[in-house]
Symmetry: C2
Subunit: 422 residues, 2 copies
């Protein structure tokens, strides 16, 4: 344990030193490192396959989906290499000076975008996250400390070595991206409690992991716990559009955090809308857990797909072919229900009424609020961020999908000509 503490302090100090150099690194050097990384990822196929095979051999008792996420094949490598090239092609967010206004005293006051410094990333099996986090760190001028899943250690070490070589090739500090080289679980506890060396922690994984990190971290955490997303069908609505969007929001993919988990329908249109969406869901085997009024309108749905909703259903993220359905009396009830039971992630209204659309946008207290669009769009790539390190349901700092800008901070710059304060 003393050795581990010393090791983590060493990692932290090296990250802080590297962060200072990365903050001042020229855009060309950062882009060079990203291009080199893309090239090395394509060239390293056999070596990476060997490291990955060791992890897979050691993880044979894992569930099939977990084993699948651990696998590092040519297609995944090509995708992350392409991601590096795309990030290299994006504008450098660092150093941008905005909004400089002249004050009556003569000074000019504005903002400069700068890196956060050092972020710690804690994640589970998928080794490609190593490259995603490293590439975002490099472009945003941060240093990062990566803690991947113990079952992926060999793959992650091999990937981190490619990152280090690419940084060196570009004349940047190798320690800008460090992977914690131990499977000791106590390393996580140390990483999240080093405010002198780490500016923010980004956890990606199960709810238990994220709750523990939020509770114990001594530095800010960019996180989301749940994606209990809602779609609300208003009284004034294009029914065809609403059916298509709600279907997509629930069924296009069941596992993502931005899938709709709860459907609210205005009482005035419930009799028109619910039987139609009910048949769509039924055809796809989606179980419907409804309030009494909803169930009464879903009587054409096969019995085995219908259940009365319990109070817990309104608070549940299923990540499965299940949806909760509630008939509400008006927009007020819909907004109140979402703000009370939702997870402040992503919620959408389907409406043709402008006043209702604007009220929903303003009053629903979520990271993403949508009008007439599928909640599945809440994603860094779909929003045009180019890359995503996570989605935040906190209100502080970055909210919603977090890309390069979420890894930066704005400091004030004051440009004077010798002004003094009177």
């Amino acid at each position: 344990m003393t050795d581990l503490a010393a090791y983590m302090t060493g990692v932290g100090e090296a990250a802080r030193r590297a962060a200072t150099l990365m903050a001042a690194a020229p855009t060309a050097a950062k882009d060079h490192a990203l291009q080199a990384l893309a090239r090395r990822l394509r060239e390293a196929g056999p070596a990476l396959a060997e490291a990955n095979a060791r992890d897979l051999a050691g993880a044979r008792e894992l569930d099939a989906p977990l084993l699948d996420r651990l696998k590092l094949n040519d297609k995944i490598l090509a995708t992350v290499a392409e991601g590096c090239k795309q990030i290299a092609a994006m504008p450098d967010p660092i150093g941008e000076i905005t909004g400089v206004k002249r004050r009556p005293t003569g000074i000019g006051v504005g903002h400069m975008r700068v890196p956060l410094g050092v972020f710690g990333m804690i994640y589970e099996s998928r080794p490609n996250v190593t490259i995603e986090a490293a590439s975002l760190a490099i472009k945003s001028g941060n240093a990062c400390i990566l803690r991947g899943g113990s079952e992926a250690l060999h793959s992650n070490l091999a990937l981190a070595a490619l990152v280090g070589d690419s940084l060196e090739e570009a004349g940047l500090p190798r320690d800008a991206v460090q992977l914690i080289n131990t499977t000791d679980r106590a390393a996580v506890g140390l990483l999240i409690a080093m405010p002198a060396f780490v500016d923010v922690i980004i956890p990606r994984g199960g709810k238990g992991l994220i709750e523990r990190i939020s509770r114990e971290a001594r530095v800010p955490v960019i996180k989301h716990l749940d994606g209990n997303c809602h779609s609300y069908v208003d009284a004034e609505v294009d029914l065809d559009l609403a059916v298509a969007v709600v279907d997509n929001a629930k069924t296009q993919k069941y596992s993502p955090c931005n899938a709709t988990e709860s459907l609210l329908v205005h009482a005035a249109r419930a009799a028109d809308f619910l039987p139609r969406i009910g048949m769509v869901f039924a055809a796809k085997g989606v179980e419907m857990r409804g309030c009494e009024r909803a169930l009464a309108l879903l009587d054409a749905v096969p019995r085995d797909l219908l259940k009365p909703a319990t109070p817990e259903d309104w608070d549940t993220e299923y990540l499965a072919p299940i949806i909760s359905i509630k008939v509400v009396d008006d927009l007020d009830e819909a907004i109140a229900h979402i703000n009370r039971h939702g997870s402040h992630h992503t919620d959408a209204i389907l409406t043709t009424n402008h006043v209702h659309a604007m009220r929903f946008l303003r009053e629903v207290d979520s990271a993403s609020v949508m009008v007439n669009a599928s909640t599945r769009f809440a994603d860094g790539f779909e929003y045009g961020l180019g890359a995503e390190i996570g989605i935040s349901t906190d209100k502080f700092h970055a909210r919603g999908p977090v890309g390069l800008e979420g890894l930066t901070s704005m400091k004030w710059v004051v440009l004077g000509q010798g002004e003094i304060r009177r």
Copy 2:
């Protein structure tokens, strides 16, 4: 204690309910409340004087400066009333939609500025902070829970009553601004650990108070601990300008957090600059604690004002007529010294060299970085924010002086026409 916990939960629930209404409140109603508050503050002189007299009578054993800060005279009331009118005249930050860009899928994606929700403000003797916090909360559409110093309770209750009456007059919820009506210290511990009801804590007071709150809070804290600010005199510099600015940065006022506490001078100009600034400081009785090279150049300064600097001096915020002085060999040493010993609050370079100015702006990791201006400018009013609720030395969320915008958050808005994800 059970009673106190129940009381605090009640306050929290009421604040959360009020926050929902405040978030949707029309600009006209918020401005009406602020104008009404300004009027009521001017009219309430005698009643406020009586409440304040009770506090002063109960605090007779306090130090003179503390008693002074507790005093609520006509001049202070006129100033805070004027502040309310100024905030009423500012644009409403809430509801602003910016940067909507059309994506290839057809959706429009942008940001909407919304209130944070509920902030808790913990402060010491000065009762005018009650009005400053209340007025910023009202304009920014937040609810707030105020916890003032126990010695100012009667004054604060009288002021909070005026705020409540003003909110009611404007048709807004009285509970949008609540003052904790107990001197029980345990209330602070409860307030900072109610994430369900409080979104952010803003402490204003001594370092001990802020450290304790940062350590124990279960919600984000907007804070600064120290203002160990630096002025660095570069090798290429207008000496007259540098003398005037450094003099102002140190001596215009000794107690504010943005006063310069440490002077760094490039070795090439130390022999020209130090004797001049030394005589300016000496004439004002400022004690100089220098490195060896600095002391050798300050030999014309009276002995009782000269001291060798100890290692602790480089880390010390004096808030007094004392300054630490160090001769450095180059810009790199200056930047490294500031990033290591400073408090990331405000630091300035005096230079005529553009490259040095830009490197200083980019590489000094502080909330405010300045070229050729007095560090004393780091202030919400001087920056044009109209009002200031505090200064943050954290990198997350609001950094530097925090005004109305620092009390808001940006959520994503997605404007669609029925788009679904493929």
